[in-house]
């Protein structure tokens, strides 16, 4: 029988055994629900923050068109509503039906708000008002209205040396979601590999398996099988997430979805092969599930630190030196690099360096971890010391 068939058989068992469990189904559904909630929340905040409803009454009604146009120039969306016939327009403001109520006639315009007026909206109104007054004065003085037009177009030319990305917020959100998903996948599926190793060890089935398989075949099959489960879940989650995000209009970056998923998958694979072997080797040192936590803590901590520290640095400045260096180092790269790629701040050379370093680390870790695993997996009883497992 070929080693390939052996590894395939092991991988298939691991995959089927895990996908069939209720926890896989529930876990996937819960994550999708959380993600959907997040996207919908974003969508709600997004439309709320950008759109103001302004009630106009009396003579102010004629300001509706210039107000909407001006607002667009300021980058906000204003919906105007004629509330002249409303009995108590102020009550509408109190009830949050209206963000602002505008009464009176130019130049004596009044804006009524509930607690705090929107500064942008006030600027828009001021501008509209100034234009109205100017137009009236020009007409009075018998001067052409083109003066008003010219005045309107006078602007200071701004040259940005480092132009801010108008989609920065969006990119940051995508980057954080990607980093969070990878963090989750690596931690959960890495732990699953560890639990699988200990399950085989504590149930002693490993002795039967190793009478027909070589340790590396068993280890590789397990890593591939569980890795595939994680991959399926990751693709499911990101697929649903992308559909939701583009459907609800939260994501406007065109074509970003495909490349983000591709990057996520690449880094999931790199990260998983890097961490899974470490998880498996650590788990092979102990014989019972209860002892597992103690050997896994250092590994989990590395992933958690990579996530927490990395996320904070990324939010501050994703192109900063610290996060740039960290994102190229193998233990942190699988979480930080895809996040930075999604944010569009990782130059190709950095990605390449990170991939090469990760591949190198995988080769070294697989060799070392495979050795520890092969030496320790049959030693049942007290915890095997790492030094002993590395010997011979």
């Amino acid at each position: 029988m070929s080693p390939f068939r052996s590894v395939t058989l092991v991988a298939r068992r691991e995959f089927v055994a895990k996908v069939r469990t209720r926890s896989f189904l529930i876990g996937t559904v819960v994550i999708i629900a959380v993600l959907a909630g997040y996207v919908l929340l974003q969508a709600a905040l997004f439309s709320d923050g950008q759109r103001s409803v302004v009630g106009l009454t009396g003579q102010a009604v004629q300001l509706a068109d210039p107000l909407r146009e001006k607002a667009k120039a300021f980058g906000i969306e204003v919906e105007t509503r004629d509330v002249t016939t409303a009995e108590n327009a102020e009550q509408l403001v109190r009830d949050d039906e209206l963000d602002a109520l505008v009464t009176g006639a130019p130049p004596a315009l009044r804006m009524i708000v509930k607690d705090q007026g929107d500064d942008v909206l006030r600027n828009v109104l001021d501008d509209v008002l100034r234009q109205q007054v100017l137009a009236a004065q020009l007409a009075e003085a018998g001067l052409p209205q083109t003066i008003a037009q010219e005045l309107q177009n006078v602007r200071v030319a701004v040259t940005a040396l480092e132009p801010a990305d108008p989609l920065r917020g969006e990119r940051l959100a995508v980057g954080l979601v990607v980093a969070a998903l990878l963090y989750y996948s690596l931690l959960v599926y890495g732990t699953m590999v560890a639990q699988g190793v200990v399950e085989e060890k504590s149930s002693r089935v490993v002795e039967i398996l190793l009478a027909t398989l070589r340790p590396w075949q068993l280890l590789l099959g397990k890593v591939i099988g569980l890795g595939a489960v994680g991959l399926v879940q990751l693709v499911l989650i990101s697929g649903v997430g992308l559909l939701l995000a583009s459907g609800s209009g939260v994501l406007s970056i065109s074509g970003v979805g495909g490349s983000v998923v591709a990057n996520g998958v690449l880094w999931y694979l790199l990260g998983f092969f890097l961490y899974a072997t470490v998880f498996a080797a650590a788990a092979s040192l102990v014989s019972r599930q209860e002892e597992l936590q103690s050997v896994l803590t250092p590994i989990s901590m590395t992933i958690i630190i990579a996530f927490v520290v990395g996320i904070n640095l990324m939010i501050q400045n994703a192109a900063g030196t610290a996060v740039t260096v960290l994102s190229m180092l193998p233990p942190f790269a699988p979480i930080l690099m895809p996040g930075r790629i999604a944010m569009g701040v990782a130059p190709a050379w950095q990605v390449l360096v990170a991939v090469v370093l990760a591949l190198g680390a995988i080769a070294a870790i697989t060799w070392l971890g495979g050795k520890v695993y092969a030496n320790a997996v049959l030693r049942v009883g007290s915890r095997v010391k790492l030094r002993e497992a590395l010997r011979t």
């Binding site: 058989l9 149930s203 089935v205 002795e207 027909t212 049942v380």
Partner: protein, 303 residues
Amino acid sequence: MVEGVLEIDRVSKRYGEVVALQNMSFDVRGGELFGFVGSNGAGKTTTMRIALGVLAADSGEVRWNGKPIDIDTRRRIGYMPEERGLYPKMKVLDQLVYLAELHGMSTNDAHRSAENWISRLGLRDRRTDEVQKLSLGNQQRVQLAAALVHEPDVLVLDEPFSGLDPVAVDVMSHVLREKASAGVPVVFSSHQLDLVERLCDRVGIVRSGSLVACGTVDELRAGGTSRLVVEVPEAVNGWTEGLDGVRVIGSEGRRTVLELDHGVDDQVVLHAALATGPVHEFSRQRPSLTELFRNVVTEERTA
């Protein structure tokens, strides 16, 4: 009909300062049931694990049909480890199919064989239950099925009878006999020496990592002292004193138990007995394997 010999040839293994095996040698021929007995820690399990390649020997060789065992020939062995091991959350049928496939069977053959052993071992009602939900006795049956499901050419079973109820012991004995008569060499270890004596063609006794006795039970009996039980009601005490190499070691009611050194002719004793008067009983007392075992182990220890 499978023909083959499993040879354990001068296998040694140390764990640090502790010698686990020292020049362990024996062979099991096709069609033979070989009982492997010894005190706890004598090296039975280590020998079996080395034969299965689960453990590496420091020196020596395990051969199958004259060739050192490698991963491919190892797949032809059915193995039941001392520490029972199955996936607790896997269903009985799935588990057996998986193990059969791992041992090189095609998926179809694996299914057929798994179903076959499930019904032969009386597990049909349990075939889709998780192993952890079975009673210990049924788990043992699944474990046996796991050793047999790939129709192995050699069987190596570590304590297959421990923890079995009498019915299961019969099932197990029957299956092992049947496998042996199909030409498969069967080695198993056990502490149930009466069972080994009844079942096995040959027995090997292990002590401190070496085989100290090996052969059929009769062969093991030969060469040692033998015992006679004699009932001579009219004899006076000391009627055996004139006989060389004969000692009185006890009496059971009116019967006297004599121990004869190796090579002493029992007919001489019979003549002496007849000389005292009527002889109501004159029989050889065949030492059981248990006694032989005890002798071998204590003999060596005092030596």
